[in-house]
C-alpha cells in the first residue's frame, strides 16, 4: 500500500516541475523509510521504533515540504501501517501542507539529504541489532563449548581413574599371586593403559576372570587395600563425591549458561537503542534464521532446565557404568580424583560441610567397615560370576563392602529422591529358632517384632532388650515369648494395625490368633493360655500368605482358596475366593492399599488377579502377553501392593521384580533384581523404597523412583537351596529386617 500510494503520489506530482523528480525520490524514500520503520516497529524493539518514529516524523516533514499530495497520501498510509506512532507525523502533514505548498527548493534538498542521513542511521541501527544478535549467539556457543569441555575433562578424569584402578588391581593381584610387588606394577602399566583405552567396559570385563581365578584371595586383597585406604582416610563418602561431581558439572553448565546470558545481554546493551522490544523481535526473527539461538532467547529458567536435561541426557549413557564401576573402584580412586580435579572438588564440597564430616565419620566407619567386610567374606557362599545380564549385579555384589561403608553418612541424595540416603547396617541378630525363619513382622510402633519359623514356633522380640555379644558389633536379642500352637512349620504372619494381635498361618492349615504379651514381659513368666486367643479353621492345606487390613485378614492356601476373615467374631470366615482351575493355587496375597475392598492374589500361573472383596468378582487380571509367553520360571513368590499408588509389585522365581499397573492390568516395569529367585518384598510406609530378599543370600534396597538398587546386604546362609524367606520395614521406626533359612533373623538400622 505504502509504495503504491507513493508511486501515485509521484505520478501526480510529475507535471508540477523539475522538483517533482526530487519529490518522487523523496516520496519513494519516504515510503521506503516507512516500510523500514514498519518492519522495525512491527517487530518492535523500543529503540527501533523510536528511530522509526523519527523517520516517520521526517517523512511527514519531507512530504509537507515537497508535495502536499504526496506527503499527505504517503504519510497517511504510513500512519495506517505504523499505527499510533506514525499518526503523529501525518497528523502534522496536512496542517503544514497548505501553509508550505509552494516551496520546492533548497530546503527540499536539505530535507532529502537529511532524510538520506536518517535512512543510513536506520540501517546502522539495524546492523547494530544484527551484531548484538550474533554476539549473543557467540556467547551462547561459547557457553556450550564450556559445557562440553567440562564434560570431556570429567570423562578423561574417569578414564584416568579407571586406568589407575586397573593398575592398582593388577599390581595387587600380581602381588597376591606371586608375592612380589614392584616389577608387577611396572610390567602391567602399558597393558593397563592399552586396555583402558577401550573404555569402562573393559574394566568390568576384566574383573570376571580375576574373580573366577581365586575368589578368596581376590577378596582378601580387596579387603587389604580397603584397609590401607581406610588408614589413609579415603573411605569417605564416595557416593556423595560422585553425585556431587555430577552436580558440579551441572553447576558448571549452569554457570556457563549464566555467562551466556550475561554475554548476550551485554551484547544487547551495546545497542541500547534496541533494548525495549528486543525480545519480541527475536522471537519472530530468530525462528526463521538460527535455530541454535533459540535457547538463549527463551527465558532464563527455561535455559537452565533445558541444558540440564541435555546434560542429563549426556549422562544417561554414563549412568549404568557409573553404577557398576564407580562404586567398585571409587574408594581406591579418590586419591586420583582429588589430585586431578581440584576445581571440581571445590565445587563438589560446596553443598556439604566437607572436612568436618570426613574426619568425624572416619573413625566410626573404619571399624564398621572392616566388620562388614569380614561378614561379607565369612558369609558369602558363592557369587557365581559371568552371568551375562547379571554381570552388573555381580559387580555390585563384590563392591558391597565399599558401598556400605562409603555411603554411611550419606546425605547427598543425588538422583531424584527424598534427598536422604542412608546405609543400613546389621545391628541386631535374633537367634533362637532351631530352623529357618519363614516370616517376620514388625509392631507398628514399638521396636518389637515377631518371627515365625519352621521349628513350629513364633517368637516375640524386643529390640530394646539386648545382650551384648562378645567380639561383635551386632547385638544379640533374646526372645521374650515363644508362641506354640502350630503343629507344623509356621509360614506367614500378619499383625493388626493396633499391634495388639497377630496372626500366623502354617503348614498345618490353621491360622492362629495371638494377643501380644507386653514387650516388657519376663521371658520365664508363667504360661498364660489367653495369649493364644483363637484358631481360624477353614483351610485344608498349608497357609502361605496372610495379610491384614483394619479388622480383616485375608489368607491364601495351597488348598487353592483365598479366604477373607473377620477374627474374633461369631462367623469369622467372611468369604472364599477361588480362581479358575488354570490359574493353579495361590502363592501370595495382599490387600490393594489404595483401593478399599480390593485384594491382589498371585497364582501359580504367574498371573495376579485383583478381586473385589465385597462382590467376590475378579476386577482385573495382571498379565503381560509378550512377557508371559513362557510361564516357566516366572512363578510369583510374593506379591505386595504399593501403599499409595495403584501399583502391584511381584517377586519372581526368574530373578525378576515386576511392577504392574492396577488400573490397566499391564506390566509397567520389569527388572532382573537378584542372582537367584526373589522370594520376598516389602515397601516402606511412604512408598519410596522397596526391599527385596532372594535365595542368593542377599537383600537389596531399591529406590522406587528410579528403580535403582541403593544397597545390597549379604544377610543369611543357605539351607538346601533356600536362603532368605522374608524382609520387612518398620512402619514408623528406621528398622529393616530379614529372615533366613539359617534360623536367624537380622535387624538393620
Amino acid at each position: 500500500m505504502g509504495t503504491n500510494s507513493g508511486a501515485t503520489a509521484g505520478i501526480n506530482n510529475k507535471p508540477v516541475g523539475g522538483a517533482a523528480v526530487l519529490g518522487v525520490g523523496v516520496g519513494n524514500s519516504a515510503v521506503g523509510g516507512g516500510v523500514l520503520s514498519n518492519s522495525l516497529g512491527g517487530v518492535g524493539s523500543g529503540g527501533l521504533s523510536i528511530s522509526g518514529l523519527s523517520a516517520g516524523g521526517q517523512n511527514a516533514n519531507v512530504g509537507s515540504i515537497i508535495s502536499g499530495n504526496m506527503g499527505g497520501s504517503g504519510g497517511g498510509n504510513n500512519g495506517s501501517d505504523d499505527g499510533g506512532n506514525g499518526m503523529g507525523g501525518p497528523g502534522g502533514g496536512p496542517n503544514n501542507q497548505q501553509a508550505t505548498t509552494p516551496q520546492y527548493t533548497i530546503p527540499g534538498i536539505l530535507h532529502y539529504i537529511q532524510h538520506e542521513w536518517s535512512r543510513f542511521e536506520l540501517e546502522r541501527s539495524q546492523w547494530d541489532v544484527d551484531r548484538a544478535e550474533l554476539q549473543a549467539r557467540i556467547a551462547m556457543l561459547l557457553g556450550e563449548r564450556k559445557c562440553l569441555e567440562s564434560l570431556k575433562s570429567d570423562l578423561t578424569r574417569r578414564i584416568k581413574m579407571l586406568e589407575y584402578a586397573l593398575r592398582q588391581e593388577r599390581a595387587k593381584f600380581y602381588r597376591l599371586k606371586y608375592g612380589t610387588d614392584p616389577p608387577a606394577l611396572n610390567e602391567f602399566k602399558p597393558s593397563a593403559s592399552e586396555e583402558t583405552g577401550l573404555g569402562g567396559d573393559v574394566a568390568t570385563d576384566s574383573e570376571v576372570p580375576y574373580s573366577s581365578v581365586s575368589n578368596t584371595t581376590w577378596r582378601q586383597g580387596r579387603q587389604m587395600l580397603r584397609q590401607y585406604l581406610a588408614e589413609i582416610g579415603y573411605t569417605d563418602n564416595i557416593i556423595d563425591v560422585r553425585s556431587n561431581r555430577v552436580r558440579s558439572i551441572l553447576g558448571l553448565n549452569n554457570n556457563a549458561d549464566h555467562d551466556g546470558g550475561i554475554g548476550s545481554s551485554g551484547g544487547e546493551n551495546l545497542s541500547p537503542n534496541i533494548n525495549g522490544n528486543e525480545s519480541n523481535k527475536r522471537a519472530s526473527e530468530s525462528d526463521g534464521r538460527h535455530t541454535p539461538a533459540k535457547k538463549v532467547q527463551q527465558s532464563n529458567d527455561a535455559i537452565i532446565l533445558d541444558t540440564e536435561a541435555a546434560v542429563m541426557a549426556n549422562f544417561e549413557f554414563l549412568g549404568p557404568t557409573e553404577m557398576s564401576d564407580d562404586d567398585e573402584i571409587s574408594d581406591d580412586l579418590e586419591m586420583v580424583a582429588t589430585d586431578n580435579d581440584d576445581n571440581d572438588v571445590k565445587m563438589a564440597k560446596r553443598p556439604k560441610s566437607g572436612k568436618d564430616m570426613l574426619s568425624e565419620d572416619l573413625e566410626a566407619e573404619v571399624g564398621e567397615h572392616l566388620l562388614n567386610d569380614m561378614n561379607l567374606m565369612a558369609e558369602e557362599v558363592d557369587s557365581s560370576l559371568g552371568l551375562g545380564e547379571l554381570a552388573q549385579l555381580t559387580v555390585n555384589n563384590d563392591s558391597e563392602g565399599s558401598y556400605d561403608s562409603n555411603t554411611k553418612d550419606g546425605t547427598g541424595g543425588s538422583a531424584g529422591g527424598a534427598g536422604y540416603r542412608k546405609t543400613w547396617n546389621a545391628k541386631y541378630t535374633l537367634r533362637s529358632h532351631f530352623d529357618g525363619v519363614r516370616s517376620l513382622i514388625f509392631h507398628p510402633e514399638e521396636p518389637v517384632l515377631i518371627t515365625a519359623s519352621e521349628d513350629h514356633t513364633l517368637k516375640l522380640w524386643n529390640l530394646q532388650k539386648t545382650v551384648q555379644a562378645k567380639k561383635s558389633a551386632s547385638l544379640d536379642v533374646e526372645p521374650l515369648y515363644t508362641f506354640r500352637a502350630h503343629t507344623g512349620p509356621v509360614l506367614c504372619l500378619g499383625m493388626s494395625a493396633s499391634g495388639e494381635t497377630c496372626y500366623s498361618g502354617g503348614v498345618d492349615g490353621n491360622i492362629e490368633c495371638w494377643q501380644l504379651p507386653s514387650p516388657n514381659i519376663d521371658p520365664y513368666d508363667c504360661y498364660d493360655p489367653n495369649v493364644h486367643s483363637g484358631t481360624l479353621e477353614g483351610h485344608t492345606d498349608a497357609v502361605w500368605g496372610l495379610t491384614t487390613m483394619q479388622n480383616n485378614i485375608v489368607s491364601c492356601s495351597a488348598d487353592g482358596t483365598v479366604k477373607l476373615w473377620a477374627p474374633y467374631t461369631k462367623e469369622p470366615l467372611l468369604r472364599t475366593y477361588t480362581a479358575a482351575e488354570a490359574e493353579g493355587g495361590p502363592s501370595s496375597v495382599d490387600f490393594v492399599r489404595n483401593e478399599v475392598d480390593h485384594i491382589v492374589v498371585a497364582y501359580n500361573s504367574a498371573h495376579c488377579i485383583i478381586y473385589d472383596t465385597e462382590t467376590g468378582k475378579q476386577v482385573i487380571k495382571l498379565e503381560a502377553a509378550q512377557e508371559m509367553s513362557g510361564n516357566t520360571g516366572k512363578y510369583i513368590n510374593k506379591v505386595v501392593s504399593h501403599p499409595t499408588l495403584p501399583i502391584t509389585i511381584t517377586a519372581h522365581e526368574d530373578r525378576h521384580i515386576r511392577f504392574w499397573d492396577n488400573t490397566s492390568g499391564t506390566l509397567v516395569h520389569s527388572m532382573v533384581a537378584h542372582l537367584e529367585p526373589v522370594t520376598s518384598l516389602a515397601v516402606d510406609a511412604h512408598g519410596l523404597y522397596l526391599l527385596s530378599g532372594s535365595h542368593d543370600c542377599s537383600i537389596r534396597l531399591w529406590n522406587l523412583d528410579n528403580k535403582t538398587c541403593v544397597q545390597e546386604i549379604t544377610a543369611h546362609r543357605k539351607k538346601f537351596d533356600e536362603s532368605i524367606f522374608d524382609v520387612a520395614f518398620h512402619a514408623t521406626k528406621p528398622y529393616i529386617a530379614s529372615a533366613g533359612a539359617d534360623g536367624l533373623a537380622k535387624v538393620f538400622v
Binding site: T482, P489, C556, P586
Partner: protein, 223 residues
C-alpha cells in the same frame, strides 16, 4: 515335584507348596552338601525319610565332628519337643499339674530362674525349651555350627537332662498324649537311644521305660 525335572534339583519350598510336598525332594548325599548347615540338613533328611529308623538317624557319618553331630541332634530334639509341648498345653494346666513331677518320686525344679523354683509342669516345660533354645543358639557358647568348643560340649549333657524330664512328665501324667506323639515321631525312643549312645545322661535318670520295650536298641549301642 515339578522343580525336580530339570538337570538340577532345587530343594525349595516355594510359596503355595502343598503340605504333603513340603520338604519332599530327593535326598542329597551329605558329601554334596556344601552349606554350613549340612549336618542339620542331613539329619532332617533322615528323619523325614523314616522317623522310626532311629539307628540310621543316629549313625554318625564318617569324618564327622562328634561335637557338631551331638549338637545338631540336640537342636533337632528340642525343636521336635515343641510338638509335645503344644499337645501338653491343651491338657497340662497349672491347676492340674502344679509341679513338674514324674511318678511320685521325682519333683524337678525349674532352672530357668535365678533361684531354681517349683514351676508348674507346663511352665517348666516351656521354660526349659525356651532356655534350651537360647543356650543352643547362644553366640557365646555355640558361635559356630561347624565346630563346637570342647567346653561347650559339656553343656549338652545338662540340656539333655532337663529336656528329658518333659518326656518323663508326659509319660507318667499324660500318657495318652505321650503315646500319640511317640507313635508319630519316635522322639523319646530316639532321644533315649541318643543320650545312651553318646553318654550324655546316666542310665538311672532314664526313667521312661522305653529301654525294656525296645531292649535291642540300647543293648546294641552299648556293646
Amino acid at each position: 515335584m515339578k522343580m525336580a525335572d530339570g538337570s538340577t534339583i532345587l530343594r525349595r519350598n516355594r510359596p503355595g507348596t502343598k503340605a504333603k510336598d513340603f520338604c519332599r525332594w530327593p535326598d542329597e548325599p551329605l558329601e554334596e552338601m556344601d552349606s554350613t548347615l549340612a549336618v542339620q540338613q542331613y539329619i532332617q533328611q533322615l528323619i523325614k525319610r523314616d522317623p522310626s529308623n532311629v539307628e540310621l538317624i543316629l549313625t554318625m557319618p564318617e569324618a564327622q565332628d562328634e561335637g557338631v553331630w551331638k549338637y545338631e541332634h540336640l537342636r533337632q530334639f528340642c525343636m521336635e519337643l515343641n510338638g509335645l509341648a503344644v499337645r501338653l498345653q491343651k491338657q497340662c494346666s497349672p491347676s492340674t499339674c502344679t509341679q513338674m513331677t514324674a511318678t511320685d518320686q521325682w519333683i524337678f525344679l525349674c532352672a530357668a530362674h535365678k533361684t531354681p523354683k517349683e514351676c508348674p509342669a507346663i511352665d517348666y516345660t516351656r521354660h526349659t525349651l525356651d532356655g534350651a533354645a537360647c543356650l543352643l543358639n547362644s553366640n557365646k557358647y555355640f558361635p559356630s555350627r561347624v565346630s563346637i568348643k570342647e567346653s561347650s560340649v559339656t553343656k549338652l549333657g545338662s540340656v539333655c537332662r532337663r529336656v528329658y524330664r518333659i518326656f518323663s512328665h508326659a509319660y507318667f501324667h499324660h500318657r495318652r498324649i505321650f503315646d500319640e506323639f511317640e507313635a508319630e515321631t519316635y522322639l523319646c525312643h530316639r532321644f533315649t537311644h541318643f543320650v545312651t549312645k553318646y553318654n550324655l545322661m546316666s542310665k538311672e535318670n532314664l526313667i521312661v521305660p522305653i529301654n525294656e520295650e525296645e531292649d535291642a536298641a540300647p543293648g546294641e549301642s552299648e556293646a
